[in-house]
Amino acid sequence: MNGVWIMAGITWREALRRKILWTALVAGALLLAVFAAAMHLQVLEFQGRAMSPFVRYQVEAGMLMIGLYTCDLLAVVLTILTSIDTIAGEIGSGTIQAIATKPVARWQIVLGKFLGFVAMIAAYVAVTYAATIWVARATTGVLPQHPLLGYLLIVFECVIALALTFLFGTWFSTLTNGVLVLGLQGVAFMGGWLEQVSGFSQSVHIVTLGIASSLLMPGESVWRRAAYELQTQLAGSLSFSPFANVSIPSLLAMGYAAAYLAVALGVAVWHFQRRDL
């Protein structure tokens, strides 16, 4: 088990030294500034207007959701970009050879790297997520309903993408890996919105298509569950919001996502274990 921690440690240290993490943090900070400005303008706009606190709250909560969704997208992109070459790249360059000939089983190498990335993602999301909530609170006073659960679900969504980059990384080159995972992420994105739309349109075909996409890559459905957990009944009931709780992914869907993650990681380990390096 020691090997797992050594590999997790080196992966974590590598992540901290990568420019991409800091670039993503800068990007996050810029988006946060835009978000803060928007929130502030909204507050000014509402000032002195006679409006029901109910509508006002709904609008502000909706904006918070936009901020958090941005946070989520950025985290997923960071996850994919940092991890696509960790396995494929090290096999390609031969870096893995001096490591895989140490008294460390191959599954420990994969698991260690995986945990190192999970730690990096969890830290990154914690920072951007907390900052977004803080800005919303400071400007308007709105707060998400279940912030911790929301946070965990966002990290969960990223970790699903991570398992996919590991899975394809044991088979393909870095480039192919990136194309595949981003492609699947696109499918998930489509699936999520199709399901959302189907809530209004009632089209059976769209529902089926949405479900099929979410089965193929359940990442986005996890975000939609997060959105549900983050919003109060009140805010979530607003039917014109893109984050309205029209079709809430069930706990079964979350169970499916967890199983999907476990299978992807399991197959990655299995294949890495038996392939030539």
Partner: protein, 308 residues
């Protein structure tokens, strides 16, 4: 065959095919413990693939082998094995010290041992003044040195080196040679892959020639490894009687005008031969020793047309 405890490595009909491409055809050999064993062959002969099979990086298509008594793929035995890959890349964002420490930890070394051992090996490979520099700025030769440090930091019983001197200057080559000898003197077995004859010739105790994925021959090296030394003597006044009197020391002798040629089992006989000839009234102008070099053996086996 002796008990396998005497052998660091034993292979039986190892074979590796990458699809239709056969990298190693049929490999059977043993490596005695405590020797520097040279694995010599032209590019593409299957040397690297052989090492990778022995280290569990590549799965053989068929055949079997034991390394330090353990079957291929055994994880625990790797505690006692070191490896310098051929085209190695390491995390270049680490410093020399950090990289060697990382590999030492992976090899299962304790923190206390690492504290003293890491600076020691970095010093051994001649990088003491660069120990806190990032590997990003290292030259190929310096990386090769740090790779060597990484391979021996945990004092393994068996060290595999795949073309360890390819990026090194003459001083670096000498350092590698000295380190390999020191490793052997400490009791370690060294498995050295190389396509450089000269390197194998001066470093190894034994050499296996590999050609087209199979062992062509195994030779013991060291002083007088050749079957025969050939000598040419330019002299005046050599009589037939003097020539036939040489048979005490030589395997054959032939007088060819002013040139006397003979073969002997060792150059040790030369002073006696010269004394004998002078005693028989000959005037000697020149004695030339014609060694059969490893290169001759290599070329004979591999054929001149194949590039090294």
């Amino acid at each position: 065959m002796t008990a396998s405890a005497d052998f660091a490595i034993e292979t039986h009909n190892l074979r590796k095919a990458f699809g239709p491409q056969v990298a190693v055809r049929d490999l059977s050999f043993v490596v005695p413990r405590g020797e520097i064993f040279g694995f010599l062959g032209p590019n593409g002969a299957g040397k690297s693939t052989s090492i990778k099979m022995l280290l569990g990086l590549v799965r053989p298509t068929s055949g079997s082998a034991t390394v330090l008594g353990a079957p291929l793929g055994d994880v625990e035995v790797r505690r006692r094995i070191g490896f310098l890959p051929e085209d190695f890349r390491f995390y270049e964002w680490l410093t020399a010290t950090e990289l060697v420490r990382f590999h030492g930890r992976l090899a299962g070394m304790s923190a206390g041992r690492l504290r003293t051992r890491v600076p020691e090996v970095i010093d051994m490979v001649g990088l003491a003044s660069h120990r806190d520099r990032k590997l990003r700025g290292f030259s190929k030769g310096m990386l090769q040195r740090i790779g060597l440090a990484q391979a021996i930091v945990h004092e393994p019983e068996l060290v595999f080196l795949d073309e360890p001197t390819s990026g090194l200057d003459p001083m670096g080559r000498r350092m590698v040679r000295d380190i390999l000898r020191a490793e052997r003197d400490r009791g370690a077995t060294v498995f050295l892959n190389s396509h450089l004859l000269s390197e194998i010739e001066v470093t190894c105790d034994r050499v296996a020639f590999i050609k087209d994925g199979a062992i062509a021959t195994v030779r013991e090296l060291g002083a007088g490894w050749q079957d025969e030394v050939r000598v040419a003597v330019r002299a005046d006044g050599v009589t037939d009687a003097a020539v036939s009197g040489l048979s005490r020391w030589t395997t054959w002798a032939r007088l060819d005008g002013p040139e006397l040629r003979f073969g002997a089992s060792s150059e040790q006989v030369l002073p006696e031969v010269v004394r004998h000839l002078v005693g028989a009234g000959a005037d000697i102008f020149q004695v030339t020793l014609d060694r059969m070099s490893l290169e001759d053996v290599f070329v004979q086996l591999v054929g001149e047309d194949r590039g090294l």
